[in-house]
Point group: C2
Chain length 351, copies 2
Amino acid sequence: MAAELDGRKKKILQAVIRNYLETGEPVGSRTISKYTDLNLSSATIRNEMSDLEELGYIIQPHTSAGRIPTDQAYRLYVDSMMEEKDREIGELKEMLLEAENKVDKVLKNVAKVLANNTNYATVVSAPQIRGNKLKFLQLSRVDENQILAVIVVEGNVIRNEMISVDEPLTDEMLLKLNILLNTHLTGLSIDEINLGMITALKEQAGIHSDLISTVLDAVAEAIRGEEDLEIYTSGANNFFKYPELADNEKASELIGTFEEKKALAKLATENLADEQNTGIQVYIGEESPIKAMKDCSVVTATYELEEGMRGSIAIIGPKRMDYEKVVASLKTMKDELERIYNRRKEADPDG
Amino acid sequence: MAAELDGRKKKILQAVIRNYLETGEPVGSRTISKYTDLNLSSATIRNEMSDLEELGYIIQPHTSAGRIPTDQAYRLYVDSMMEEKDREIGELKEMLLEAENKVDKVLKNVAKVLANNTNYATVVSAPQIRGNKLKFLQLSRVDENQILAVIVVEGNVIRNEMISVDEPLTDEMLLKLNILLNTHLTGLSIDEINLGMITALKEQAGIHSDLISTVLDAVAEAIRGEEDLEIYTSGANNFFKYPELADNEKASELIGTFEEKKALAKLATENLADEQNTGIQVYIGEESPIKAMKDCSVVTATYELEEGMRGSIAIIGPKRMDYEKVVASLKTMKDELERIYNRRKEADPDG
DNA sequence: GTTAGCACTCTTTTTAGTTGAGTGCTAACA
DNA sequence: TGTTAGCACTCAACTAAAAAGAGTGCTAAC
């Protein structure tokens, strides 16, 4: 199986795929005979198609139907037959700028714009920070028995924790705790905060050791970024545009999965785990990290806003998706996101 | 139209509605004849049904079909024919407790649990604060040219704003600004922060008046709570369980709307606007505040966690939804939410 | 190696016929 | 006067059969 294809077979297979991407209908020999510039009769095409079927690139849904591409054919197409598409997607960029300087809004927008533009469903994950350190920590009294802990982690991830205390803390105590925590914790990563240190901190805090516990938990969560990976989705109803996904059972499953952000997080983590990967990844059918998407193709891109702050963008559609367009759109978005960030960081420091 | 119904007509109408709620199929005279304890023949029922049709309570989808209730009938049913259902929904409560002390997680859970329990779609809006005041404001230096503004509004809504500054602020300056802002702004509502005060503040801040602007904007947004109303949804795929909503066109529209949190926010604002309303609201068909839900019924409840902190829970399903159960579930959830809050506030101050 | 032609297959569409649920109306009955 | 049995009628839903259409595989000729 999967032997090398000669030039003509390649051309024919490509034509079959292209045509099927457009129409979603099985494509017959006569169509190809006209579609390509090979000037071959349908009979010849039939012979070739017969070969392609034997090689596992196309199948017939039933005896007297045309052929449709197999996952193997899509794989070949994506890997080596796809042409770089012009990225004319100027409007994508414009729509991004609206959202000014709020990362979460920009990402929400990315999801929406991509979904509108491609007619597929999109999943965008907020940048996740790994192996980073505590940058800033402060306890403040908000009222008599409420203390606000503000935690900032490298990458400017901010976390707030409101802590109730039975007995009001004096100003001195608060100051003391602040100094204590900062001198011991600032600049440390999660691995460097060990049990011995925690015990020491608690001892020094005396009757307020509970407070320390709560703060430390919050610090740990903030550093790990475990809280919950923010996921933005858009275009779930685009599934309905493709009959092969739109029947009740499949649509229901897809929509259900799409609602379950936790399941979608897999898409992000899958890609982000591979720190090298900064490119585009294509999952066809069963290759998908999410079972519910076995009838779909999933294309993901990884973006990097800053050292270590990486997130992912995914587009989910039918297997017969317009891979060229999707890949081009993803590249545009990825570049644009990274550009926006760089612009802000390098040229526009007072954002 | 809508004249008073005599007892028998009422009973028959109720039977028609009940039966239709269960089956979703038009119900015929013979069914009713057996369903009720009126001991009437189908012929008699037919006469009565004919009357009910003339009065606008039921219609025939086509000549030789049974009758289905109209919106008017549902209205009557919900207003006066519905029975209080026992609230046996103990598991709802248990599932809530998992989520400990994070309001957002609790609310996410509410949405999920309700959706699972009722088999309808749910929308939960986070509590919105109105007319509240600035409680706490603090600027801190995070690194040389980044200032973190932490803003706490009554009701413990916390907002962070990272502000870049060209020239590093000295410690004195920072202290001065903090005092300046706190003395002027703490305890004020949005209406009380007027232009004169802003100008005065900026003057006193000197070269850092830009900083003041940014902080004030953030304060204003925090107080208004305008940012974006958090909306949690669940059970979108439940729509597929009801054939009358599951055809591609309708499902697509519903799912699309369901994804558009902004549209859903209407549900919340609609109810919260009426400050008196702390009960259950039922929208049938066209009555719904959201056009896309014209074929659905929407039942909403308003919960109040604390003085002025009110949010809403909505359940969306087919018009033939199990109103008794939905109302009971909503009541349980509302009570439980309010109870959890009270427990925390009154009995467990260091939770 | 390529192509025209034809028989064959199998889905899709069309048509016609049948069934069944349910109604409205009439006439009889209590 | 209200109730009921009976019957003709309607119309969606189902079934079966027929026709159409798209496409193939194979063979024979070029």
